[in-house]
């Protein structure tokens, strides 16, 4: 199946000279949830803004469902919905009016039944007559999502959808995004909350300083870069690590009370059984042990710091 979004050689240099994107190549598959992960200023919003037509690229080609976003912008844009990062809404319009406006703006004939469905799905139906400025921040974000969905897009961009949103609403938002995916919408979200990418995404792209460092299935990414750690709480502290244990490259922690062994999650042989055997031969006793798998956060930090 051809990708629903195909980005090739995308470069953006702002008038200030700031190089925001460096030759980015990326394909988004139809129906997936793709998370674009990166620190502030990494180029996430620039990338989204170019695909949506808000920022002009310096170089490169973007196809949305086969339509060039520059030459064939009408066809491309009518397939895309965008939920911006900032809560930028009109103030005096009613919820109903602003969502209907968005549908018209994107070239679709009025369809009150569909707008009603969108508002009900987003728990906005009761608020449809309210002026937007009277709504809470969370509700305003829902209004922005409703606006983005008003023209029945096939691709939805969510730029930092849960920034500054409370835990409950965040859960709601996640459920909503999954529901949209069920209905066949392809979703691209940017986030700097790693747990969000870990929770939601099928695939993850890590972007830093304008470069796409890695694009991988979430599970693969975790496997490939995921470290596991075995920590042994010793009965008696050690001053140094015995030479006999040098094969495992252990670390001594907590003033010699803990031995830490780091290995890769996908190693075929972890070396744990032999390590424990050797420990017992050396009469190093331990009272407890635990293992820890590195989170996406750790992976991310190591990826980004490697590139510095």
């Amino acid at each position: 199946m051809p990708p629903i979004i195909s980005i090739s050689n995308l470069t953006k240099t702002y008038a200030s000279g700031h190089l925001a994107l460096k030759r980015v190549d990326l394909d988004i598959r139809k129906g997936e949830i793709f998370a674009l992960l990166g620190p502030n200023g990494a180029g996430k919003t620039t990338l989204i803004s170019i695909v949506c037509g808000i920022v002009t690229p310096t170089e490169g080609v973007v196809l949305a469902d086969g339509h060039d976003i520059a030459r064939d912008y009408r066809a491309a844009r009518s397939k895309i919905g965008l939920v911006p990062q900032e809560l930028t809404t009109d103030a005096f319009e009613s919820v109903w009016a602003t969502v209907s406006f968005s549908r018209g703006l994107f070239g679709r004939a009025p369809n009150p039944a569909y707008i009603e469905k969108v508002l009900r799905d987003l728990s906005l139906w009761e608020k449809r007559k309210d002026k937007i400025m009277t709504l809470s921040g969370g509700m305003k974000r829902r209004v922005l999502i409703a606006k983005a969905l008003a023209h029945e897009p096939e691709i939805l961009f969510l730029d930092e959808p849960t920034a500054g949103v409370d835990v409950e609403l965040r859960r709601d938002m996640w459920a909503l995004v999954r529901g949209l995916r069920e209905s066949g919408v392809t979703i691209i979200l940017t986030t700097h909350y790693i747990d969000e990418a870990e929770e939601m995404a099928d695939r993850i792209g890590v972007i830093n300083k304008g470069e796409l460092i890695v694009v991988e299935q979430k599970i693969e990414l975790m496997k490939k870069l995921g470290k596991k750690q075995l920590t042994l709480n010793l009965l008696k502290p050690l001053a140094t690590i015995p030479l006999e244990l040098s094969d495992w490259r252990l670390a001594l922690k907590a003033d010699g009370h803990e031995l830490e062994y780091t290995f890769h999650a996908n190693d075929e042989r972890t070396g744990i059984p032999t390590l424990l055997e050797r420990l017992s031969q050396l009469r190093i006793g331990f009272k407890d042990l635990n293992t820890q798998q590195s989170s996406l956060e750790d992976i991310f930090v190591s990826l980004v710091s490697d590139r510095k």
């Binding site: 808000i54 809404t89 005096f92 319009e93 209907s100 018209g104 994107f106 919408v185």
Partner: protein, 262 residues
Amino acid sequence: MSSAANPAAFNRHGVWAIYKFEMARALRTLFQSVVAPVITTSLYFVVFGAAIGSRMSEVDGVAYGAFIVPGLIMLALFTESISNASFGIYFPKFTGTIYELLSAPVSYLEIVIAYVGAAATKSIVLGLIILATASLFVPIKILHPIWMIAFLVLTATTFSLFGFIIGIWANGFEQLQFIPMLIVTPLTFLGGAFYSIDMLPPAWRTVTLFNPVVYLISGFRWSFYESSDVSVGVSLAMTLGFFVICLAVVGWIFRTGYRLKS
């Protein structure tokens, strides 16, 4: 979700959505949009028409009170077209809601048609309201109603385009006020809204001919009373010329994305 069918060559739903949005904004601010300019114009009328006009003889065979009506309508048309159109496009830039316009499948031409069309509609309606108000004070005859409407529509459209340009150019509310306050209003006052340029000393008359507003007011007044400072053909040509210049600037703005896209 069903996919959008092949989008039409002209996004009429989009144009209509923006137009309706802009008109709804005018209705929400009915006082600012209609009542305030009508009151302002009535005040001009009381001061210049009744108080001063009663002591003045006729100008070009027209009673002074009636003579100033076309100029007053033009004055309102200029300022309201500019402020409506400039505010209409500046405000989304200011609040950030412009993202939606830029990401929508609307062409630049459609955006201009919608914003400028709405702003021009509002000022044309306003111009007609002022005309109706004025007719309560003085007898008004319109010798060339079709030309009167033509000048009204052309001027409203041109100044709405001009306002649209200002709205895109402006980086703050002061700049939004700057051109209407410091350029358009003085040019209008000096452009023969309240007098015939024949009443000026010859040197000043020549200077005045460099003021484009003279031609707009003169042509409009001609459609009422057949009295004009310059020939109506020149008026029409100048108005059309200004229209074309504004159109070209708007075209350039959208081609380059000036102050809209980075």
